[in-house]
Each structure stands twice: as structure tokens, then as C-alpha cells.
Symmetry: C2
Subunit: 123 residues, 2 copies
Amino acid sequence: MSRTPLHPTREQIELPMVLDCLSDPIRLAIVYQLAQQERVSSELCCGDFNGLAGKSNLAYHFAKLRECGVMQTRVAGTNRFMRLRREDLDARFPGLLDAVIKSAARDAERLQLLPEGEVVAAD
Amino acid sequence: MSRTPLHPTREQIELPMVLDCLSDPIRLAIVYQLAQQERVSSELCCGDFNGLAGKSNLAYHFAKLRECGVMQTRVAGTNRFMRLRREDLDARFPGLLDAVIKSAARDAERLQLLPEGEVVAAD
DNA sequence: CCAATAGTTCAATAAACGTTGAACATAGGG
DNA sequence: CCCTATGTTCAACGTTTATTGAACTATTGG
């Protein structure tokens, strides 16, 4: 349980897999929160998403996001820190991630993107 | 079988549904071919996609693309003509469709986007 | 060393999905 | 009016998916 898990190389990232990842509401919320976090260039760990679903369900979605190349996991002690693979995604699919995040942000309430009554500063 | 089928309004189009639509290789290929056709501002009918899958399978995917608001179907005689709902999609999710189409175009071979050995002129 | 914390893995379940072929509906041409 | 071409609908199927709780692993702090 200790080694950092496997991630696909940039070239192995496939468009349909990424779109499928982003099409799930829970995974979209995870990605959205990771994107918010990019602004302060820091990472989030599993526990930060506990509002979205149960632990084992989250682990399932994390694995999918990892396997599809959407995010990266770094192991540190008992924590896993994750971040978007922004560079790789932008290189493979220019403009895609931004379009998805922006579209999601517009529909944030409808999509229940934030766990509790969290508020995000406007751009 | 004669009336033009139901389509969601622009506002009813949901991001996760659209992403899910585009995440299926056959549907992505359909959308890709429709996007190519936009250049000559004309439509395609069901038969034009026969290279991608069997008829009933295609009908299934067409229905999904319609229900999710990705494309529109117009009935004319024994034919159904379809086109992308470009304006609606661009209004709801700016830049998304273009990013997907462009990314798909880059990986056209890998994704087997064109039925037979078809060739598309470069941009 | 023990207990608590942080996550993963596994097995089980129900629902959704993609694919198939057969039957059906409709319109148009001889 | 029939025959054909074009698509849709339906039932069946096997597969994949998301979700759950329980068991497990690993690390840290006392």
C-alpha cells in the first residue's frame, strides 16, 4: 500500500477515457476542486473530498481518474496528495480541460460541485 | 415513425450527459463526421454512418446523441438528416466542442474515426 | 507497542450500457 | 398497389459501472 501507484504516460492518455472520467458527476466534482486548488498551486488529499461520497467509493473514483491520466497521486506518509495532470492534458487535448472546468463552474449549483455550502471567490 | 423526435431545449443540455455522449468511440466518430460536414453546411443521414456499426446499433447511438442535445434530427421522407447543435453547445459550453473535435482529429487514426480508408483534407 | 488515522482492496449487488437480430413502420418508385 | 429502401423499436444478452460495508494495510503519535 505504500508505493506511489501507476500512472499512464502522456502519450497513453486517450480522449474517450478522459471524457468518460469527466462525465461522472462525482469525478467531475473532484476534478473541479482540484482545478480550484491549482490557483494556489497546492494539492489536495483524499480526505478533502469526504463530502462527495463514502471513502471506498472515492477510492474507486480516484483510481479511475489516475488510470485515465487525469490526475496524479503522490504518497506521503499516510496521506495521498493529488493534483491534476494539467500539463499532460493540455498537451494532448488543448483547451479541453479549461472548457470543461469553465462550463462546470457556470453550472456549479446545478451540478452540486461543492460538497457543503462552500463558496468560491469569483474570477 | 414520422414525426421529428424530441430534443432537449438549450438550457436542458447538461455537461455530464454531453461528455458521456462524446466518450463513446462510435458516438465520437459520428460527431466527428458531423463536424466535418459543417464545413459545407450540410447534413448527413443515417446511412452515411453505416461503416461505423450496424443499423440498430447506430439508431441507439443516434437516440442518445439526440436526447443529450448533441445533435438534431430532421425527418424528410424516408430519411433522417442530422446536424450538430453547434450554436446551443457553444452557448452552453464555450470552446468544448471545438476542443473535443480538434483533439479527436489529432488522434483520428488511433480512434478509427473514419469508417473506410477515407481521407480528410488538412486544415 | 498500541491505538488511531488515512486509504485501499475485496466481494456483493443493482442498475445502466452497448450490441445483436428480428419485427415493425413509413415513404417513394415502378 | 406492391416492393424496396430507410430507419426505428423491441427483447434478449452479456458486460461494465457505481455503490456499499467489511476487512485489510500502512504510518504516525503517545
